[in-house]
Amino acid sequence: MQLIEWIKQPWPWWVAGPLIGLTVPALMLMGNKRFGISSSLRHICAACFPSNISYFKYNWKKEIWNLFFVAGIVLGGLIAAQFLNNHQPIQVSPALAAELRGYGITNYSELIPIDVFNWANLLHPQGLLLMVFGGFLVGFGTRYAGGCTSGHAITGLSNLQWPSLVATISFMVGGFIMANLILPLILK
């Protein structure tokens, strides 16, 4: 089965990008839904820890489609890793591999570097910064910005909303600063 073998390889951007773009009209046509993932974090807060905060007092059950959607993403990740995996190391640019080797990152078996992202490292300052602090910034920043890559960069830009362009540029500027100037100090 050549098709199966092909599917098991990493997919090129020109297959993945258009499929992701099609999520925007798919969700619109299915029921007037706006493609945006970070809202799910708010719905989880509203459902589990509303804590009398007005921002979390709304009828989250009306937005439950979004939780079905992210549950699907977890399952999709599981299916891809279990059944569509060719078990080859991740290929990265030689320049990146050389830099990461300097930080002791040499394991390319998973899509994140398990040399530093692992349970044991959680108890060290480095692991706390990478996983706990990093995750916190993702949750706080996306809600403050009113969306993430899906809500702003893809849905917002698709609908030609200039505030989404501002947000997307800010995401990229923040990422460039962190990846090039600050993250190397954390990984050292």
């Binding site: 970070s38 937005e63 699907g72």
Partner: protein
């Protein structure tokens, strides 16, 4: 700067992508299964195109690979074209409802919050969608990152009226 934001303030609510222009129809819960299936397909694309890869995000922010620019760029082009066609031909949902579009209002959060998210994106190598997919692939420690992201969202809700918008 302290600004009190009324709960029903449209400008702020419109940031939240919830409570706006939702479908008027009431359906049984299993109608949501189509979103589960869409999510599954989406999660598979995420993994197979390595969009959830921390390494790909590092390459993107170091300009070492075109991959992520190609993914996001082509997704936006397809999304734009789809929205244009839906507007032009006034295409309705499968239940016959009109599809409406809302304007996003500018506020400072898009810059400050955007930078903060950018920092987190480069550290964790994941935006919220990939966090869910990474857990699915079996990297269980990402559960901690996701819980931290939920804590971050909760903290934003707590301090929202005290930070500039």
């Amino acid at each position: 700067m302290t600004k009190n934001i009324p709960e029903n303030d449209f400008e702020i609510r419109s940031l939240d992508t919830s409570c706006l222009n939702e479908s008027e129809l009431v359906h049984p819960y299993w109608y949501n299964l189509k979103y589960l299936i869409t999510g599954i397909l989406f999660g598979i694309v995420f993994v197979k195109a390595e969009i959830i890869s921390w390494f790909r995000i590092q390459e993107m922010f170091r300009l070492q690979s075109f991959h992520m620019y190609g993914v996001i760029g082509s997704a936006v082009v397809v999304g734009m074209l789809s929205v244009f066609l839906i507007k032009k031909f006034k295409i309705k949902t499968i239940y016959g409802e009109d599809i409406h579009f809302e304007k996003k209002e500018f506020n400072k959060g898009q810059i400050i919050g955007g930078l903060i998210f950018g920092f987190g994106w480069a550290i964790t190598g994941a935006c919220p969608g990939p966090l869910f997919a990474q857990i699915g692939t079996g990297v269980t420690v990402t559960i901690v990152t996701l819980l931290s992201a939920i804590a971050g969202t909760w903290t934003y809700g707590l301090v929202r009226n005290k930070i500039p918008h």
